[in-house]
Symmetry: C2
Subunit: 144 residues, 2 copies
DNA sequence: ATTAAATACTACAAATAGGTGGCATTTTAT
DNA sequence: ATAAAATGCCACCTATTTGTAGTATTTAAT
């Protein structure tokens, strides 16, 4: 529901990169496309490299490419990695131990809604995003 | 998924107060029960008054009670009020305008999952919580 | 070789969120 | 009347997140 800006940036970067996986993306290019604050973007990119989503090449003509098949990168993974493990596994109400020593009225309802969302996020990968993007491109071409 | 601590505190306070609506709760009492940092809790309580969820009475024997029927207070309302309007209405990916000028692959899936969650949160009120709490109490008594 | 274009690293600055403490005011009990 | 127990208000402090800037390093083109 509410992701940190950093996580949103990460999703944005990786989603954008996923649309053309053959390309090497420089920080400067991504800055122009995504308008994420320049310096922060650079830090995020090295961060995403360290997390293993992408890898960098140094020097002129250097930049970033995916470090693994984008079929292997789900939205859930990205969010979880960026927000820190278990950010999505805690109680909605933020109670470490439940308020009345047994599940509150929200519990079942919330767990169900949340697990559905987690399923969705787990089952959707950057590859799905790429596919959808390309289909949309085609549709647009046809309608000219 | 990830609510601010402040919102979690608000949920915690109101949920706790909902278990016995006839009582006047002092900040000090709630502090002992909920272990929310004392000074911050006091600020939150006056905040919740301003938002109209509860109302305060001054002086000795003063404290806080609900300002309206708890049937009228949904979890969604609380979260939305505390997080600031529309915190739950923005794109998962945090894009202000979508990355490729048309809905991304996540859109339908995400909107569905989210609207389900919002429905759940909207349809569940503090009154539901109270009811569940009292049923659980009864069950415990019977099993002695 | 030199220069240009890229990332790596790092120390710092700014903004936001979370938390504290003190003093004023109100009400009730004695 | 006075003291005690409560909230209201406010200025400040601390921690975390977000953002900046500069220097060092690597690579490719010339
Ligand atoms: S029972 Fe309620 S408070 Fe406890 S973990 Fe479940 S949703 Fe959270
Ligand atoms: S289309 Fe995708 S990026 Fe746009 S609002 Fe929907 S989920 Fe967000």
């Amino acid at each position: 529901m509410i992701l940190s800006k950093t996580t949103e940036y990460a999703l944005s970067i990786l989603s954008y990169m996923a649309t053309r996986t053959d390309e090497v993306y420089s920080a400067e290019y991504l800055f122009n496309e995504l308008k994420i604050p320049r310096s922060y973007l650079r830090r995020l990119l090295t961060g995403l490299s360290k997390f293993g989503f992408i890898k960098s090449s140094l020097g002129r003509k250097g930049g970033f490419v995916f470090a693994k098949d984008i079929k292997e990168i789900s939205f859930y993974q990205i969010i979880n990695t960026m927000e820190g493990a278990d950010a999505m596994n805690t109680c909605l109400l933020g109670f470490s131990c439940c308020i009345v020593d047994h599940p509150c009225v929200m519990h079942d309802i919330w767990m169900e809604a949340r697990s559905k969302m987690i399923n969705t996020l787990s089952n959707t990968t950057l590859a799905d995003l790429k596919e959808k993007y390309q289909q949309d491109l085609l549709k647009n071409l046809r309608s000219i």
